[in-house]
């Protein structure tokens, strides 16, 4: 009852001063959902930073508190673009080097993975022949491939790219194949009635129907690539965010290390979102991101 009585009282002033507040009202109502999205994570992050500060401020703390990270690594945070030659570069350059490796390795994996996935999705022989091999190979951890690829390529750069490739290709192959096999019978019936066959059937029915699965594979693949490159770079050295982290640990520069980890997380998140957005665009909204 009180709810019913209160409602008109709340809306009445807005209705009375209609001409003045009418323009302001939609703006406020547009802002509110954005604030509702932004405020909770912001508050939680602030609370976690406060907790971190509190937990690491004691005399026996092994990790630096956020205030010390800011004091130590201020240059690194505020200027990611400096370049003093050699390995003494801003985080932007390290991230860029890592991203270039990921871009190349992932692009090759996407291309090969989708093609092989389409093959084993459409051919029972290829499926029976290749699937057991893939099921074994995909469980090999990314870094286990590194010594072998170093032996084969005899150079750090192509070896790192190969590790990305071999890590991210499996989910792409498997999801593409599942997508092709799961083209709903309904769509097949429609295609049969309008006599859509051969390549036209493939391009107009199979590929679009499998696209959401393919993008799921790509999304998992890009996440694995980013996991793998950090680990691989720790071992192969050179410019790259992975080696930067390893280097910071070796020189006991924990503040730099923490800043680098934050960047790794943010870039990984951005990569995931980019592939999801590309998927939504390419599948015209039929893929869930």
């Amino acid at each position: 009852m009180t709810m019913l009585a209160r409602k008109p009282a709340v809306t009445a002033p807005a209705a009375l001063s209609a001409p003045a507040s009418f323009a302001a009202l939609p703006r406020a109502s547009r802002l509110r959902p954005i604030l509702a999205q932004v405020i909770p994570p912001l508050l939680v992050v602030l609370a976690l930073v406060a907790l971190w500060e509190f937990a690491t401020s004691g005399p026996g703390a092994t990790l630096p508190p956020p205030s010390k990270v800011w004091a130590d690594a201020r240059d690194l945070i505020t200027d990611p673009f400096f370049d003093n030659g050699g390995l003494d570069k801003g985080l932007f350059w390290h991230l860029l080097a890592s991203l270039q490796r990921v871009a190349l390795g992932f692009a090759l994996a996407a291309l090969a993975g989708i093609l092989v996935g389409l093959l084993i999705g459409t051919s029972d022989f290829a499926m029976r022949g290749l699937d057991p091999i893939f099921q074994v190979l995909r469980t090999v951890p990314p870094l286990a491939w590194l010594p072998l690829s170093l032996a084969a390529f005899r150079e750090a750069q192509p070896s790192a790219i190969f590790v990305i490739f071999i890590t991210s290709i499996w989910p792409i192959i498997i999801n593409t194949a599942v997508g092709v096999r799961n083209v709903p019978q309904d769509y097949r019936n429609v295609a049969a009635v309008i006599r859509l066959r051969g390549p036209a059937f493939f391009w107009k029915i199979v590929l679009p129907a499998a696209a959401p699965y393919i993008f799921t594979g790509l999304k998992i693949g890009i996440g694995l690539s980013w996991l793998a490159i950090i680990a691989a770079e720790m071992l192969i050295g050179g410019v790259g965010i992975g080696f930067f982290i390893w280097d910071a640990w070796n020189s006991s520069n924990l503040s730099d290390l923490i800043v680098a980890l934050t960047y790794v997380g943010l870039v990984g998140f951005a990569l995931d979102r980019i592939v999801a957005l590309a998927g939504r665009f390419a599948t015209r909204g039929t893929s869930a991101s």
């Binding site: 309904d186 429609v190 009635v193």
Partner: protein, 264 residues
């Protein structure tokens, strides 16, 4: 009798099943006729439609359309599927256009096909939503696009597989009226699967009643001798309508009651 669509001695059995689903179905359908097939769930009425569509093979006997035995699916027997089966990545226009492009590219130019697609969308009153995707429109609208897609193939026979089964009563009535209009204006031959007695009586020239499956046969064929155009309001109290309705109900519930329900 005009044997436009001739189903003779048709039996359908699925592999591994000892008893055939349908046995010795004989049915002749004239050009422009509206025939409904009614029966309890699982009696094989959808199977019958799928065989006419060519999506399922006949085990024995066969189906002849205009003197030619059907082998496999084709646009001369356009299907409106129960669950609409629109391609979700295409807009409504593109869904219809794909069918038109695929089936009429030899007889119509691009511009003609474009106009033809728009004409069919207008026929089912969906012009306003032509650029929407299937996920953005209601179930009744999807089914109307499905009908437009089927009509755009210029089929000899329109096959409706429980086309209104998933819709609410008001939307269903609205779509039934539209299908009646299209049947009257185009003179299309229609075979409709349904489990709705009122729908069958309202729309059909003849109602084919199947016995319970497996081993389902045609139990009875009822001529619905009502003048067209038919009006659902006027017919509700018409003794001929009531008599036809009672005859179908009696077949379904007295003489061939659903075995699954009877056992329960």
């Amino acid at each position: 009798m005009d044997r436009f669509l001739d189903i003779s001695q048709l039996s359908v059995a699925f592999p591994k099943a000892p008893i055939p689903v349908l046995r010795e179905i004989d049915l002749q359908i004239a050009r422009g006729e509206y025939v409904s097939v009614i029966g309890h769930s699982g009696c094989g009425k959808s199977t019958l439609l799928n065989v006419i569509a060519g999506l399922l093979p006949a085990t024995a006997g066969g189906v002849v359309l205009e003197g030619r035995e059907i082998e496999g699916p084709g646009p001369d027997r356009a299907v409106v599927f129960q669950n609409h089966s629109l391609l979700p990545w295409l807009t409504c226009y593109e869904n219809v256009r794909l069918a038109a492009d695929q089936t009429l590219s030899k007889t119509m130019s691009r511009a003609e096909r474009h106009a033809w697609v728009l004409e069919n969308l207008a026929l089912v009153r969906m012009t306003h939503a032509k650029d929407k995707r299937p996920s953005e429109i209601s179930g009744g609208m999807k089914q109307r696009i499905g009908i437009a897609r089927a009509l755009s193939m210029k089929p000899k026979v329109l096959l409706l597989d429980e086309p209104f089964g998933a819709l609410d009563a008001l939307t269903r009535a609205h779509l039934q009226d539209q299908v009646m209009e299209i049947h009257a204006s185009h003179g299309t031959t229609v075979v409709m699967i349904t489990h709705d007695v009122d729908e069958a009586v309202l729309l059909s020239d003849r109602i084919v009643m199947l016995t319970n499956g497996p081993n389902a046969r045609i139990g009875e064929i009822l001529e619905v001798d009502l003048p067209r155009p038919r009006d659902r309001l006027a017919l509700a109290a018409d003794p001929r309508f009531v008599a036809a309705r009672t005859a179908v109900l009696e077949f379904l519930h007295a003489r061939h009651a659903n075995p699954a329900l009877a056992a329960a």
